[in-house]
């Protein structure tokens, strides 16, 4: 497995021809290796522009973008792109190729031996939750969710240290989207790559990101921090409004009962029984619903402890 890459945006500015306002205005961003970084913001904030500059689908005017200290301008274009996984909302699978052939695109460009490519394809299909026999199918024979799984597998094929994703789940129904979000997080933990993920959905940003960069109209970086820090201390009114009035509850949703200190308790303790994977937000919601002041956290038959309603406020 190749290591993850560190990405640095260094005072990057982009002005499209014939437009006065910049699409991206002096963007500086350091993304440590292995980080899941989400670019979020209103439409026209320059998220796609910023993303496509990394693999040079869009040229930038000034400043620099470096991958592991090396400017993207110093690498031959094809070499740069073959080393970066790229996933877009419209997916762009090759309709004339089977799923297996689609996934093998970059390994084939890199001249991998056939056997290695075939083994990798099987491994990837499993990784993204598809079956080995799906390799023989054509994209037109798959559902939207399955297609995006293939898109993800194709981007991961040659094990690139960096993954660029532009609203990859934007066109999916909420249930499929949630499933793929959860799986992408798991996958990120497993393969440990740097991911730059674009969305305009704040909930998705908070759920997915280790770090969130909020871009506002005109391509100005409004805030760059962890989801918890952004929710706790929005940099300005724009950010505060963008992340929503229910910031406190959103912060509680970032933590599960596993992350909080519980009071010791026994089997005889009153209150609903919940799993330690319940988010604090859902735990609070449940107590408000039942009118109880406390919950008992259980792992199977074992009591892990007791969580009090009054403890929730102290977490903020």
């Amino acid at each position: 497995m190749s290591a993850a890459a560190e990405i640095v945006f260094d005072h990057v500015t982009k002005r499209y021809a014939g437009r006065d306002a910049p699409a991206l205005d002096d963007l500086s961003l350091e993304i440590p290796a292995g980080t899941f970084c989400v670019l979020v913001g209103p439409s026209g904030g320059g998220k796609t522009t910023a993303l496509k500059m990394v693999n040079r689908l869009i040229p930038f005017d000034s400043g620099d973008i470096r991958i592991d200290g090396r400017s993207v301008r110093d690498l031959p274009l094809t070499e740069l792109r073959r080393g970066i996984g790229y996933v877009i909302q419209q997916i762009g699978l090759f309709p004339h190729q089977t799923v297996g052939e689609n996934i093998a695109t970059v390994p084939r460009l890199l001249g991998w031996p056939k056997r290695q490519t075939a083994e990798r394809t099987v491994e990837l299909l499993e990784l993204v939750g598809l079956e080995a026999r799906d390799a023989e199918r054509y994209p037109a024979q798959l559902s939207g969710g399955q297609r995006q799984r293939v898109g993800l597998a194709r981007a991961l094929a040659a094990d690139p240290p960096l993954l660029l994703m532009d609203e990859p789940f934007g066109a999916l129904d909420p249930i499929t989207r949630f499933r793929l979000q959860t799986e992408l997080r798991r996958l990120h933990r497993e393969v440990g790559k740097t991911v730059i993920f674009v969305t305009h959905d704040v909930d998705e940003a908070i759920q997915m990101g280790d770090r969130i960069a909020i871009l506002r109209e005109g391509g100005v970086l409004a805030q760059y921090d962890t989801p918890d820090a952004i929710l706790a201390h929005p940099a300005d009114d724009f950010v505060a409004q963008f992340v929503g009035e229910d910031r406190a509850l959103r912060r509680l949703a970032l933590r599960t009962l596993r992350d909080v200190t519980l009071e010791p308790g026994s089997q005889s303790e009153p209150g609903s029984r919940v799993s330690p994977d319940t988010t604090v937000r859902n735990a609070v919601s449940l107590m408000l619903e039942t009118g109880d002041e406390q919950l008992v956290v259980v792992d199977g038959d074992r009591v892990l402890g007791v969580f009090h309603l009054r403890d929730a406020g102290e977490l903020l």
């Binding site: 693999n55 689908l57 274009l77 094809t78 070499e79 740069l80 792109r81 073959r82 970066i84 790229y86 877009i88 419209q90 997916i91 762009g92 699978l93 090759f94 309709p95 004339h96 190729q97 695109t105 970059v106 460009l109 054509y138 037109a140 024979q141 898109g151 194709r154 660029l164």
Partner: protein, 210 residues
């Protein structure tokens, strides 16, 4: 009674196949590189398209007449006319095929680091196959039809037995029917062959889901 098949129909059919094959092959050999050039250098597409469209508006008999002063009553004259028509059909179809790759597919291909040539060979051309074969089907069928008109110039092709029969005081209906029937059978056979070719070259396009 003469042996219609051995004396007349069989040679006429062979000539007709030759007239058609030469026209389609040469037409394709010109249209294909021209379309690749026009695809690469966008500015060419419009002028080529206009010239072909103009050609198509000239009635075939008139086109033969126009060419006779230059190339006489020869196969060359006939073929120049036939090739012109196939060009007019094939060029826009090949262009449409090359343009049919969806934007997001091109973006993904570029993003994965395919070179321009690789995008053409591995993505755009395979995706153009259904449109190209579609163009060939129309070109072949219409060339089979137009080639019968060549009999007004030369004693060749399936049109000739028809022209001869029409000149008789009481036309031999059998000649007209059998020559016409052969032309139709030939056209249909070519069309079925091309459909099979598309199935073989573009299996993804016949799953009916694309």
């Amino acid at each position: 009674m003469r042996d219609h098949w051995g004396d007349t129909l069989q040679p006429a059919l062979v000539q007709h196949v030759e007239l058609t094959a030469i026209a389609v092959v040469i037409g394709f050999a010109i249209a294909f590189p021209l379309a690749l050039l026009a695809h690469r250098y966008g500015r060419l597409e419009h002028p080529v398209g206009v010239v072909s469209a103009l050609l198509y508006t000239i009635p075939s008999l008139a086109l033969f007449q126009l060419l006779i002063p230059f190339s006489g009553l020869t196969w060359t004259t006939v073929e120049i006319a036939l090739v012109s028509y196939t060009l007019v059909i094939l060029f826009p179809n090949i262009m449409a095929g090359l343009h049919s790759t969806p934007d997001e597919v091109l973006e993904a291909a570029q993003g994965m680091g395919l070179t321009r040539l690789q995008v053409l060979l591995r993505v755009e051309l395979p995706l153009a196959i259904p449109a190209i074969v579609g163009g060939l089907r129309v070109a072949v069928v219409s060339t089979v039809a137009i080639a019968t008109i060549a009999a007004f110039l030369l004693p060749d092709g399936l049109g000739y037995p028809i022209v001869l029969a029409l000149k008789e005081p009481t036309p031999f209906k059998t000649e007209i029917y059998s020559a016409g029937g052969l032309a139709i059978a030939f056209a249909i056979s070519c069309d079925l062959l091309l459909v099979a070719l598309r199935r073989a070259l573009a299996p993804w396009a016949v799953t009916g889901l694309a």
